[in-house]
Amino acid sequence: MQGLILSGILISTYLMFIAKRMSALTRVFALQSFFLFLATYIAAKELGQLDLYIVAGLLLVLKVLLIPMLLGKIINKIKVSQDLGLFINAQISLFCALFFTFLAWVFSARLNIPGSHTEVGVFAIAFLVVLTGLFLMISRATALAQIIGLLAMENGLFLFAATVSGGMPFFVEIAIFFDIFVSVIIMGLFVYKINNLFTHIDVNKLTRLKG
């Protein structure tokens, strides 16, 4: 079961690299969050902790349902083209993904994590997800991709914390969720306003200010 979830996270992470359309990217993000939810739920069932159940529930409600819906709404509303604005095309992004995988693996293999190959693998995947978020933020021109990049990084950090210390403290977790949700709303509004003002959401063109 754990293997299934891990490979699911891995597949959705690679899909993020090759997504060319905004709606596809949001859906892939929802998929990744769903696998994260499954992982948390299973951990909660094993440990029998109420905290973890609540965290899993929040993951499901916020990241799998609410945030992708919100972003989908924004995409529909601003009526720009679905194009993400790839600086680096899908195939080369894929090669970057391979490089990141290698990097994450070497990094986590050096850390002397106790446990089997699987633990090292989970750590590497968490690191890969963080790098994916970073890559998305750097290499995609539209503001929406930057939001999803940030969210993907957060997903990676969640997985990170889960492997290193069995999850963050409960209140920290709740605070992070709240933070994420509010920031997505604010950034969504921001994207909407940018679009109203400039009629596009390409972050590169923002340097040219309109009087």
Binding site: Q2, G3, L4, L6, S7, L10, I11, Y14, L15, I18, A90, Q91, L94, A97, L98, T101, W105, S116, H117, T118, V120, G121
Partner: protein, 306 residues
Amino acid sequence: MKIFILILQLAWFIALAPFLSGFITKIKNNIRMRKGPSIFQPYYNLAKLFAKSEVISETASWIFRVSPLVVFSSYLTASLMIPVFILLKPFSFIGDFLALIFIFALGRFFLALSALDTGSSFSGMGSSREMFISSLVEPTICLIVFSISLQFGSTDITVFSGMHTVSIAAIITALSLFLITIAETSRVPVDNQETHLELTMVHEAMVLEYSGRSLAFLEMAAYIKQMILFFLIAQIIFPVYLPGPINLVQIFLWCLWYLARITIVAVIVAFVEVAVAKMRLFRVADFLGFAFILGIIAVVCAVMGV
């Protein structure tokens, strides 16, 4: 006894490979509410082609004459390398799993070369497309081999037949191999076997100049290649432990089981082919890129041991 088994395996491949193709066509037609040609149509075609005389272009060199035989024999050799009925490796002195890939590549190389030989613009286009696709396919096949070898600790092809369990790595490997098989057997999202339409011409364009016996050999080679790939998929998803000792009753049972497994794969292929639309040639890179990703995930999963 060993020789007998080998001859049996060879006969099995030659006798059954056209059937598989006819079977897929039949299913596809039935899904589309058509009657379609008989399951045995490929056999009739082959018989007809063998009886016909051959027309060879005046500009063709010896490569054109030789390559149908080279292609045919290379796939036949490949079929001998995988253990089907018993754990026997008659051709293990040639090499392991990686050698299988390169024997495949040999056949493909000669096919592309012979298509260029006559100077026909259509077959030249076909071979250029084929090389484009195969340059994307081969890295993925290598990844698939690495994944399987990591799971079983050896690149020997017989290890692969001693599989017991279906792990997640194995399932993802099979998925990746499935996408590759669709490209390799020139099926719908990549190519179309049914038409001679310019847009879809990859394999069909390459064999355009051939007629008679040579064409029969090339078609037979394509059928055998298809059967090998289907068998590999079936072996990964429905693993069977092949026993060492030789026993005629058991071999008969394996034959039935083998047929059942391959049929399941063929049905899946037929359904996929009906459901999917033909892709633009440059979208094929995305399609095969996805297969490549799956291959990498399979390797990662195999390293993690899940």
